[in-house]
Symmetry: C2
Subunit: 558 residues, 2 copies
């Protein structure tokens, strides 16, 4: 039996049902195992995935797209591995034209059929999750396990989560309804009404360098399942993960009898500004973007024909007031600063600590003892090169290295960044975190994002001043994450009140195996849309509801 | 027992539950009876409502608001009745400041308490529905029954509908969830997560002249129930209906122990441009607007800090291909053109008819016979002044009279507009519909909105050409409504396909008691957001989901 679109829905209905329950419960659930262990994925999966990745290198990526006018290679691996994959290039016009032509049949297929096809795409990508993980690792600089989790399993979970929200939204109304209005003593008025889900137009997903899949999948699948063909514009330095994604998406679409141009890859030649050209096309009605504040604001200002979802820069903050587990707190913060060399949109940057020190389970700790505790935790995690690189990965691009240089002159060093030789990849650029001490009045420095392995310990008068700084920096610059350490319920309440006012998610007293920079699909919301760091949450009702419209027809019931 | 906020929720939970069911079923339901009959509302209700309305005239409107710096009167009744109600004026800054101060307690009350208070406001307004109807009649120019229905009962239904969508959206996630992630052989990771509904900020509702309540209530109640204090800026010529609304809203808020400044009236002095000042305030995060395309686009372009929902001008269109009920078709179209003198955003303007005529149950009818049939139906409805004015109401403002003058020179008259003396109100400005014949190539004329009792019968080559004109005018200029008459399923299907492509709701073969310009709350969607006439539907998930954000906190379960 071949897979028909209808079969695909039936095949995956159980997964969708479970995902629909998960988004209403917001407890723990995951559809795609996060452990790359052979016990989960089989003995050969890892090697096969790596081989599939290697087969792409130094050659043309297998993608048959309309309007191809040349082949381009723009990637340079943070691990120093030569990639040299070439991708088919096309003009914006050719891509948009192909997407527009694919729209009517994709729209008319309806929510269920589209959901089946999208779920099959996710299943296909999951079959190739090791291949994806390698592609993410060698373009983003993430260490392998993180690339497998954040770039593979968790990205798929977030895609499914967004798909579930979109499916729920599309199907909250029936496709058809009977309307019967009493008319006094006369015959009631009777009408039959049909409610069509109509896509907005063409979706454009603009990928980022650090999380090419995780940050792109929710928008990609939310737009797709609501009927919008999607053009995927990868970051020039992280094309491969999205090329792999588009390849398998097109494969599934074609197998299901749809025009594969429902999903298109738009690799960008150097200096071409293809993203901007695409973003201003009148047919493009939805844009999902992750990256710099400057470009995100440009999109919001200029792509007026589209709904624009942006995740931009922010200043993630930790408030340290007191703790009943000093060692756990230092370990936890140290891990958060070290993971992927601080190159996560969720990595803390500002750690606000009273200058007079804090109360702990080990007695009073001075500001410098707190600083030494966190620095020591980072040092322990990064002391051994072989272990260090499995946490830090590599530095994604030269901008981060420049900031590491620049930051040296802005404050007193608590921990200096070190160069680490990668034991396996000679050309890998690896750096350990830099931590600096700043006074509370150095807001000109700490009040903006220093993307990379850079954090500031800021000496405040008191927790009250810390709360004030938290409010002002997050209120003005935004944040994706915040956390607080305190043994005092009043301080926790005050931090939660401040977090509500400035609209940032708050973690309290993380001392164990949960880190502020990690959010769990189906339970934690990522970004809030309530502060300048992002204009939407990545997966919730508001993120999906405007991706389609309902158009109705009505006639008297015969 | 006094009403506490909690009691209010319990008191109205049944209504909310029924509304929540109705929005998923989209069949017939109404919470507020649309008949002003004494059998429904009691023998004294009409007289009491009128008396309450009359008591407002020639005096200060009873509204105690902060920052009042003077009293202004800006209304002039289309019925020629002297209103001379003065309203408390305040600067934008004073209003915004008061609204901002009211936010935290309103936010912290949570979805249930807010829903209870909002439902009580609706119940209170319903108690005063005759007072509201009089206020709507004498400011908008609607005849009494229409003012009672569209301005009273149906407006309340639409408010409840929007409230139900918003409540469903806010409560689709639990307020708190337990998260337990397996950790191999170790203890699972356990966290408690709290999900807070956080309003966007201050809502601004900018009312229109023709439907001051109906078009304002959905945005007002959707913003309110999601925690946003709302500033209501009425049209200078239709202040009273919204002043009455704000009065009772503030009354209920105060009774429930909230700051009444959760709802504020912002009457505008002549030339003050208060709407624009308010719209650009950084605290204003949501704007709901109904009115001209020019001002709607100005808001969209300039109020960049806010989510802006606009309903603007459009070119509503009827496709006439054939009919099995010629008399019914002419009656139905004639009624739609006559109701409220064509001053509805849903009134048809362009009637596309093949120049060679159409097939009907009465045999072939030439183009001129179709024109005569429709003109005859209008003539019959407007022949008797006393009956006519109960349908047409009065002309809302001089802009409509100017267009009635201007249109005389643009085409061949099918039916000329007549002046009607209102039997009850000497100063009422009453005009019957003008119908003109235009060739298909006169798109420069019929391709834009002529708001008022003006419609065009457009002679096309064929239904195929009619469909092309329908696609191009609605695609470029937008429409709130469209309808088609045909006995041929293929034509109905082609019209529905075209309607999907240009994103407009379609009514088919209306020949009885349902009219294209009427949409039923809880069943019909009003506007689609999929064409230039409006950037959102008035009541659906997309209309409410972005009015709040979810902000979470999490901590390990102790």
């Amino acid at each position: 039996m071949t897979d028909t679109p209808r079969n695909l829905y039936d095949k995956h209905a159980g997964t969708l049902e479970r995902a629909l329950a998960a988004i209403t419960e917001r407890g723990y659930w995951s559809a795609y195992p996060e452990s790359p262990s052979p016990r989960v994925y089989g003995e050969t999966a890892a090697a096969e995935g790596e081989a599939a990745f290697r087969a792409y290198l130094n050659g043309r990526f297998p993608l048959d797209q309309p309007g191809t006018d040349g082949w381009i290679a723009t990637e340079a691996s943070p691990f120093g591995v030569e990639l040299a994959v070439t991708y088919p290039h096309a003009e914006a016009g050719a891509l948009v034209e192909a997407a527009v032509a694919a729209l009517p049949a994709w729209r008319d297929a309806g929510p269920q059929v589209r959901a089946g096809v999208c779920l099959e795409i996710l299943a296909r990508l999951h079959q190739h999750v090791f291949e994806l993980a390698n592609a993410v690792q060698f373009t983003s600089g993430q260490a392998f396990v993180m690339a497998f989790q954040a770039g593979g399993a968790h990205a798929l979970d977030r895609a499914l989560e967004a798909l579930a929200y979109a499916y729920a939204e599309m199907t909250r109304h029936p496709g058809e309804a009977a309307w019967e209005k009493p008319a006094g003593k006369g015959e009631p008025l009777r009408m039959t009404k049909r409610f069509h889900v109509v896509p907005r137009g063409i979706g454009l997903v603009i990928g980022c360098n650090t999380f090419p899949t995780w940050n792109s999948y929710p928008g990609l699948f939310a737009s797709l399942v609501t009927g919008n063909p999607v053009i995927v514009k990868p970051h020039p330095r992280a094309v491969l993960p999205l090329a792999v994604t588009v390849r398998y998406a097109r494969e599934v679409l074609a197998e299901a009898g749809f025009d594969p141009n429902v999903v298109l890859l738009a690799p960008e030649a150097p200096g071409e500004a293809l993203a901007s050209t695409l973003a201003l096309r009148p047919e493009v009605k939805i844009i999902d973007y992750t990256g710099s504040t400057a470009y995100g604001e440009w999109l919001e200002e200029n792509a007026r024909q589209a709904v624009v979802y942006t995740e931009k820069a922010g200043v993630n903050t930790i408030l340290v007031d007191s703790t009943d587990d000093f060692a756990g707190m230092c370990r936890n913060i140290g891990f958060s600063l070290t993971l992927y060399s601080g190159q996560m949109c969720t990595t803390p940057q500002n750690v606000l600590v009273p200058a007079g020190g804090i109360g702990t389970d080990q007695g009073h700790k001075s500001f410098d003892e707190v600083a030494a505790g966190i620095a020591g935790a980072v040092g322990k995690l990064t002391g051994d090169a072989a272990r260090a690189v499995e946490l830090t990965g590599a530095i994604v691009n030269d901008g981060v290295l420049d900031r590491l240089d620049e930051v040296k002159s802005v404050g007193e060093p608590v921990l200096e960044s070190r160069v680490v030789e990668h034991p396996a990849f000679e050309g890998a650029i690896v750096r350990t975190p830099a931590i600096l001490k700043l006074p509370a009045d150095a807001a000109a420095t700490y009040g903006k994002e220093w993307f990379g392995p850079i954090s500031f310990l800021i000496a405040t008068d008191s927790t009250a001043e810390s709360l004030g700084i938290f409010r002002s920096t997050v209120g003005e610059r935004g944040a994706i994450t915040a956390s607080v350490y305190s043994t005092d319920e009043k301080v926790l309440d005050a931090a939660e009140a401040a977090a509500l006012d400035v609209g940032v998610h708050l973690s309290c007293n993380l001392t164990g195996g949960v880190f502020v920079n990690q959010s769990a699909a189906f339970s934690d919301f990522h970004a809030s849309g309530a502060n300048p760091a992002a204009n939407a949450a990545l997966t919730d009702g508001a993120y999906v509801a405007s991706r389609f419209r309902i158009v109705q027809s009505r006639r008297h019931t015969s």
